[in-house]
């Protein structure tokens, strides 16, 4: 019985320590904010110049000059600050962001990640993804374990253009928590009812049990 999206978000949230400065990617990673354990202070960074980002406001209080990286209205919590883009990315590139959690099209067992283009043409767009994977101290990925077509997203090597090389150190999927180890992935934790063998069958590189 695999984890739901909310369960994955809660698991990823549980692994964020108090006081961490965290950048959450657009989409599924954003949900982590809703599951930070009560009483644990975590400071959310948004690449467009916000530290101390709070939840989405009620519709009547939405302010299009207070938006997140996904361009959606957010709030600022006490202790928050605004700064310009070069300072914001100094935080990222300079190794000051403790954890970033991103979505991905593919990850590789050597820690490579692809999440900026499907390589199929159309308009390419990169945003802050390459800066985040190069700069955050811990780069974590939340993704479905396989594509809609059932193809593994945890691969031996990327098939899509890379966002960064050798940077991912944790992957959360509906089947478990994984760590890229170079040639293989390590299964740190399996979702209830899942076995190493069952997960390995849906993974594109060797999968080993954690010690």
């Amino acid at each position: 019985m695999s984890w739901t999206a909310d369960e994955i978000a809660a698991i990823a949230a549980a692994e964020i320590p108090e006081g961490a400065f965290v950048n959450l990617g657009i989409g599924q990673p954003e949900r982590i904010a809703d599951f930070i354990p009560a009483g644990r202070e975590v400071v959310l960074h948004s690449e467009n110049g916000i530290l101390g980002m709070g939840p989405r406001p009620p519709a009547a209080e939405e302010d299009m000059e207070l938006i997140n990286a996904g361009k959606k209205p957010v709030t600022l919590i006490p202790g928050g600050a605004f700064f310009h883009h070069a300072d914001s990315f100094a935080m990222i590139r300079g190794g000051h962001i403790d954890i970033c959690v991103l979505g991905a099209y593919e990850v590789a067992a050597n820690g490579d990640i692809a999440n900026w283009t499907t390589g199929k043409g159309g308009v390419p767009a990169v945003g802050g993804a390459m800066d985040l994977v190069a700069g955050a101290r811990s780069v974590r990925v939340i993704t479905t374990h396989t594509t809609r077509a059932g193809r593994p997203k945890l691969l031996q090597t990327l098939s899509l253009p890379a966002t960064g090389r050798g940077v991912v150190d944790r992957i959360y999927t509906e089947l478990g928590i994984f760590k890229p180890m170079g040639e293989a992935y390590r299964l740190l934790r399996a979702a209830p009812g899942e076995t190493l063998e069952a997960i390995a069958a849906r993974t594109g590189a060797p999968l080993r049990q954690a010690d």
Binding site: A86, V123, A125, A134
Partner: protein
Amino acid sequence: MIDKIFPDARAAIDGVRDGDTVLIGGFGEAGNPTELIHALIEQGARELTVVNNNSGNGEIGLALLLHERRVARLICSYPRGSHAHVFETLYRDGQIALELVPQGTLAERLRAGGAGIPAFYTPSGVGTALAEGKETRTFAGRDHILEHAICGDVALIKAEAADRWGNLVYRKAARNFGPVMAMAAKTTIAQVRKVVPLGELDPEAIVTPSIFVSRVVPIADPISERDHILALEQAR
């Protein structure tokens, strides 16, 4: 007396030339100098290189400038989006050149341009398609690529308040690229919601000091991109 306040956007935009590099502030819907861009359209300069994080929203501001075919080349990090159809169509039709730059590299190249740093090394983008053709160098065992400064002929930015010297403060996340673009351009033009008397802005809280600003235009009630996009969506 120093007085950088201009009566209207059309007067402030004067002097932009064909082929100029125009830095345009904003991220998503926050901080876009829409009225200045409309004045630039009226002014008529063509074959522009535009630097902006995105590629315009809906059919106003940068999107309208693109639609009017004034932009030969866009330097940006994220030209995709739910309201970026003007750019997407031009791009697919091969009507505009695109230089895609990681967002932090874009911000840092602008700051470098403003700070007299012609080039710097960065780890962002190493090993990716966006590093192709770039000089690579190893520092402390880690690969970096060489990135070059971006300077603008003109910067168009939006701030919250200014004084007659051109000191600027911003509002919330509308600050974004304004400060680094103001540094990086020969002529920086800011539209602001209000002009305040000299000395009223807190000297500890001024974000862009007057030295980086050439012209200021008060636009008390700028166009709401959100309203525009809602209207567009309802019209469909």
